[in-house]
């Protein structure tokens, strides 16, 4: 019941408010500032609308005795892009992880397709995220969105491995906040691509 209330609050109050008082105004504006504003508004709208809808569905399914898995876990507080995909639309991301990424990399490992398993892993990430984009529709910016997230995940992995040697990025709370900040903006830019706004200008 708590989830149904939260779903109602997210979807019918927060998402509507963001849409009516912020996103619609930013949508008609032009120039960099309006696009930036639209990017933030659209990101929050998407989250409240979709997380609200999911909470609704989960809440009602519990009433009927069905245990539907959680779908969102504070995604905008994710400390890196990998963490984000474990928190955003979890049921879909996990499906692509288990059925596309894992299958592909396992086949590559058993068949020794590549000298370095990491090559397979990176191709798997691009493949899984590219298909995830395509899953939303065949419009080109959905595919770009998927490939963009593939690139973010690969870039993050390359950076983490490089950072093990050079230790540029630290561990403290300030670094974690910086990580969440960078992640949120990388994700929000992805949503801007996803929204198709860039395609119209």
């Amino acid at each position: 019941v708590q989830r149904i209330v939260r779903g109602f609050f997210y979807k019918f109050l927060m998402a509507r408010m963001v849409q009516r008082h912020w996103m619609n105004a930013a949508a008609v504006g032009t120039g960099f500032g309006a696009t930036l504003s639209y990017m933030y508004a659209y990101s929050f709208y998407l989250f409240f609308d979709f997380a609200g809808y999911s909470a609704f569905a989960i809440g009602f399914s519990y009433l009927f005795g069905v245990h539907t898995p959680e779908n969102f876990d504070k995604p905008f507080l994710a400390k890196n892009i990998r963490d984000f995909w474990n928190r955003w639309h979890v049921t879909l991301s996990a499906w692509f992880r288990d059925h596309v990424y894992t299958r592909f990399v396992l086949a590559a490992a058993k068949g020794r397709w590549f000298s370095d398993i990491r090559t397979a892993s990176y191709l798997g990430l691009f493949g899984a995220m590219g298909l995830m984009g395509l899953w939303h529709g065949t419009t080109w910016y959905y595919v770009v969105y998927g490939v963009y997230h593939g690139a973010l995940l690969v870039g993050h992995d390359v950076f983490v491995r490089w950072n093990k040697e050079s230790r540029l990025w630290g561990d403290g709370p300030v670094w974690q906040m910086a990580g969440s900040f960078v992640t949120f903006h990388a994700v929000a830019f992805g949503f801007l691509v996803f929204s198709g706004r860039l395609a119209q200008s």
Binding site: R82, D98, Y101, T102, R103, V105, L106, A109, K110, I117
Partner: protein, 82 residues
């Protein structure tokens, strides 16, 4: 070597830490000792070395969240064969 020792030897090599042998209830995914890639490497290693095939379709992270659970899972698979 017992089957549990063989399973843990594979796990500690893939995870690149001996901690997994000493702490059976270590939260492997929460502590980022295992991730998607290492999970696949584990599946490949169990297939090659213990002849246990784990299909990505049947796999759930909850079944592998600690070393003890991995041992139980693989031992079950080994046991059901004979």
């Amino acid at each position: 070597m017992s089957s549990a020792e063989r399973i843990l030897a594979v796990l500690s090599r893939v995870a690149q830490t001996d901690e997994v042998k000493n702490h059976p209830h270590l939260r492997l995914y929460e502590l980022a000792i295992l991730d998607s890639l290492r999970t696949v490497e584990l599946m490949a290693a169990f297939s090659a070395e213990l002849d246990v095939e784990v299909s990505p379709a049947e796999f759930e992270r909850e079944d592998w969240e600690t070393p003890a659970k991995i041992v139980r899972y693989i031992e079950n698979r080994l046991g059901s064969r004979t």
